[in-house]
Symmetry: C2
């Protein structure tokens, strides 16, 4: 899809960091005029909706410097260059929670901030979890605390904004929807 | 919530743009070591789940330079400094779709990319739409085409990745969940 395409006239890379790059592009608009676009390049990320055998959602509390506070999120992490997202998902799940999953399946991928960033997040669902002996820990500058929440507890955390990010809000809503679909199936089977 | 707080030791603003600023901070970690954090400052944004009287979802197709492609999104836009999100929501709805709404209600707010950006998106639901005579148009460097999609059509667009961003994926899932809740209420009323 390239409707209203904006062709690059000039591109300047202003910052190359550990995680993000910043570039500013001068673009030709569909009406022949020009504008500038400020763009963040990001390697992409994964996140994992990890469910325990008793249907609890595994969450990590983590300080987010950009927000100057900590929030509860589903386990997540950045892609290494050339890495398949499912590999990243398994690694982040192990590092942040100590769990492995027998069934790690891709659910959806979405861009988080298409107005200024190319960060694409791949969402996975992990069931049939097992504890990994001597699991790899988190990166040396990463500190997390684990929680296991029922769906109702997670919905309360959304209301009081302890859960406060898009991927985790999506995950909680996904679980509510799945629960309703399951209930509907059960009630149809009864009839 | 400030668990695992990272105190700023040094802060350098590397870029101040039209939409985003970039700063790099040296921080003290909970274990006494230091690290750097690359942070994008963003003014925040709104998006609107706008439903026609026949339950169609209003979408805009827009080219996103960061993605080098166009995607279908729910109407959205940035906050002006000091602006109440509900005001931004009404303005963006008018500019991008030509509609006003008699009932514009806040649904949820979430951070889009807490790992590197402070962008907070406020999600609104707009019902009871009416056409605004001589509606204000989009910004001069913004080109959009309108669509009205059924829920099923929107779900197909998610599968073929014409819809490809977090807020719009959230919106479509929200509408599916609301539809199931409505159906469940109706079937309970029958019994």
């Amino acid at each position: 899809m390239n409707r209203f395409e904006e062709k690059t006239i000039e591109k300047e890379v202003l910052f190359e960091g550990r995680i993000i790059n910043l570039q500013v592009e001068k673009v030709a608009l569909p009406n022949g005029k020009t504008s500038t676009r400020e763009i963040i390049k990001h390697p992409g990320a994964v996140c994992v909706i990890a469910l325990t055998d008793d249907d609890k959602l595994i969450m990590v509390e983590q300080y987010r410097k950009a927000l100057e506070r900590s929030i509860l999120e589903i386990p997540a992490g950045k892609l290494e260059p050339g890495e398949e997202p499912v590999i990243t998902a398994a690694r982040e799940l192990e590092e942040e929670t100590g769990y492995g999953s027998e069934t790690l399946t891709h659910l959806i991928s979405f861009y988080t901030s298409p107005g200024f960033a190319d960060e694409l997040v791949h969402v996975f669902v992990a069931n049939n979890l097992y504890k990994i002996q001597n699991a790899k820990g988190t990166d040396e500058d990463e500190f997390v605390e684990l929680y296991e929440l029922t769906l109702e507890e997670a919905e309360e955390c959304l209301v009081d904004q302890r859960i406060f990010d898009a991927k985790t809000a999506y995950a909680v809503q996904y679980l509510r929807l799945q629960k309703m679909i399951d209930q509907q199936k059960k009630s149809q089977n009864k009839i």
